[in-house]
């Protein structure tokens, strides 16, 4: 699904007023909420609501996708709605790492491949793209391939279905050893009165 603009920020993806939730499921209903109601611009209906876009799993966008707040809710909402990958020209740092931690693939292609993809989407918004994580390659509508980069360590975790928390928990001895030579500067429990 194309969302061909730059700087799609996390306030657009998941408006702040829904942040009072303490769950992480059911967030898809708030995805792009204000854009979908037509408050944000002239698009009506917003592309997400077009019948031909139902069931889309890849979102294609422009520069600096996910800029703004650190809210992971943006990633949860995209995934809850059904997206599994975002192909953008570039990503904001925090969004990028939040996405990977939840198995939402943030993909950046070479400029020419991204241009081709966008041209194909502009001609027909329903063209198909496939992503192969093991090969770190995308099959473009033209039939061509484009490779993308995922940090090898993260790729290993994703393919093995291990998450970062599992990995960090294996570091326990190293952490304890570090704490012995790095005494804490503060104790938050020593309450100032």
């Amino acid at each position: 699904m194309p969302l061909l603009r730059d700087h799609v920020d996390t306030d657009q993806i998941f408006p702040a007023r829904f942040l009072t939730t303490t769950e992480r499921t059911g967030m898809g209903q708030h995805l792009f909420f204000d854009l979908r109601r037509g408050n944000g611009g002239p698009e009506a209906p917003f592309i997400l609501d077009r019948p031909t876009m139902h069931g889309r799993r890849i979102l294609v966008s422009g520069e600096n996708f996910g800029t703004g707040s650190s809210r992971e809710h943006a990633v949860w909402a995209l995934m809850d709605f059904g997206f599994r990958a975002i192909i953008a020209r570039s990503f904001a740092d925090i969004f990028y790492s939040n996405a990977l931690k939840n198995g939402l693939l943030p993909i950046t292609l070479a400029q020419s491949a991204h241009d081709d993809l966008i041209a194909a989407l502009e001609a027909d918004a329903s063209v198909a793209v496939t992503i192969d994580l093991a090969a770190t390659a995308v099959t473009l509508p033209s039939g061509g391939f484009a490779t993308f980069h995922v940090d090898p360590f993260t790729k290993r975790l994703l393919l093995d279905g291990v998450d970062e928390m599992d990995y960090l928990l294996t570091q326990r001895e190293a952490i304890e050893e570090f704490e012995r030579r790095h005494p804490a500067a503060i104790d938050t429990r020593a309450f100032p009165e």
Partner: protein
């Protein structure tokens, strides 16, 4: 043997690496974790699901700021979801032994305001929080950055994170600011210069005479908005200004222990001759009060500027984006910003709600009236800021002028606490984000300094704080 010169960033990084495996991100130790109500619940739930405990409650501290209303604390919280979220944070903290500066604590406040003021933020540390403006703490020579909720869970359980070493971006601010030009204007000007993604993958290190001359609170304002330039963190090398600020704060050691900390901290600044991955220089003496016209913080221009014309842009995507932003803002290309209608003025947020910010706004307001068509909210950053302001009678200055004097919290910066703009309203805000809908659905935000915001409140339109001062 000569060790190669290192940056402040490298020194902090090197001393926090728990495990470095080639080809893997480093396991980085976190000295302080700040928690608040809106990005922690799912992380505590994750710990419960895995049967894990919080590893270091003594390195964790929580407060409520985002969704708590800033009206009178004796009133109930109208939004049930917000009330539940706040109650859940209290329960999670209690279960794990994490100290909580809750709604009735004398230390409650915006997480990035209370860390420094309690002396929890100390040079050379690593600090994280599930909030992107954690970069604020970098003003103390601290590597401080925002994290997502999955990472909040990782830090709660292991006190570590997986991270690749970021690159370091030298931001030199030369010269001296002119009268009427604030720290907020400096950072807005920088954002206007480097854009929203100039800093991606980097940590900014701010340096140069204009930074050296700044107070800690001004440095915090600058570091706060590093994230708006795409950098996860911003740093200022600690110096005597830093040590003076810290001396005597509750969590800072005293006496000989303080002296020994200071001598350790003196080794932190970047070594002479060190190389940076990127550099930019700004001359503070040429800067003017700044304001944004668009829907991202990099759309900052001198206050007397006119709204730019999208048609003058070469890049079609940028042209379309600017058209879209101007449509949202209801602004015409070529229109002057000065004199534009203002409905709400918000003085607050982790960018500009410390005591010096309130003094700056109060100075402008003193003896004047908020324009009858304007609602002005003044929201102190913490209980401690509020107490100090009341000692100085700043609250009376604001009240006498017709402004609202409120309880500490994020308030209209994030608009999830009942305090928000109505569709179509224009706000001049001292906060850090002007995205579509950030301050309320359909609300339109001009970002500016506290002095500018206060001048606009009086004028009822966008006004230059320098002319208002002169016209007194």
């Amino acid at each position: 043997m000569n060790t190669p010169p290192r940056t402040l960033l490298s020194k902090i990084w090197d001393s926090h690496v728990v495990n470095a495996t080639p080809g893997h991100p480093d396991v980085l130790y976190i000295d302080l974790h700040l928690a608040h109500e809106i990005t922690s619940a799912q992380a505590f739930a994750e710990l419960a699901k895995r049967g894990l405990r919080v590893r270091r409650p003594d390195l964790t501290v929580a407060t409520v700021d985002h969704s708590i209303p800033t009206h009178d604390r004796s009133l109930p919280i109208a939004d049930a979801a917000a009330a539940d979220q706040i109650a859940l944070l209290a329960r999670n903290c209690w279960e794990h032994g994490i100290p909580l500066h809750g709604a009735d604590s004398p230390h409650q406040g915006i997480v990035h305001v209370i860390g420094p003021e309690l002396g929890l933020t100390q040079p050379g540390m690593t600090i994280v929080c599930g909030d992107s403006h954690t970069s604020t703490h970098g003003a103390f020579g601290v590597l401080a950055f925002g994290i997502g909720t999955s990472e909040v869970g990782q830090v709660l359980a292991t006190q570590t994170l997986l991270r690749h070493r970021p690159r370091c971006f030298a931001v030199r601010i030369e010269g001296r600011r002119q009268r009427g030009v604030t720290a907020k204007d400096v950072i807005l000007a920088l954002l206007g210069r480097i854009g929203l993604k100039g800093g991606i993958g980097h940590v900014f290190e701010y340096m140069g005479p204009a930074i050296d001359a700044m107070s800690m609170e001004e440095r915090m304002t600058v570091c706060n908005m590093s994230i708006e330039g795409g950098a996860r963190a911003g740093l200022v090398a600690p110096d005597d200004t830093t040590y003076e600020y810290l001396a005597g704060r509750p969590h800072v050691p005293s006496g000989a222990a303080f002296e020994s900390s200071v001598s350790r901290w003196r080794g932190l600044p970047s070594d002479d001759g060190v190389e940076y991955d990127a550099e930019v220089t700004l001359d503070a003496s040429t800067l003017e009060p700044m304001i944004t016209y668009g829907t991202n913080p990099a759309s900052a221009v001198p206050i007397a500027a006119r709204v730019p014309d999208p048609e003058a842009l070469g890049n079609p995507a940028a042209r379309e984006e600017l058209h879209r932003a101007l449509r949202y803002m209801g602004l015409r290309p070529g229109e002057a910003l000065l004199g534009h209608r203002v409905d709400v003025v918000f003085v607050g947020s982790c960018t500009n709600a410390r005591i010096s910010d309130l003094r700056e706004a109060a100075e402008m307001i003193r003896g004047r009236r908020v324009h009858p068509s304007v609602r002005m909210l003044v929201v102190p950053g913490s209980q401690s800021v509020k107490r100090q302001a009341e000692i100085e009678h700043l609250d009376s200055v604001f009240r006498a002028a017709g402004a609202e004097w409120r309880e500490p919290g994020c308030s209209m910066c994030v608009a999830i606490n009942g305090e928000r703009l109505a569709p179509g309203q224009y706000a001049v805000s001292t906060s850090n984000r002007n995205f579509e809908g950030r301050q309320g659905v359909g609300g339109r935000t001009f970002l500016a300094s506290p002095a500018t915001a206060a001048a606009c409140a009086v004028a009822g339109e966008i006004a230059d704080p320098r002319t208002m001062e002169a016209g007194r």
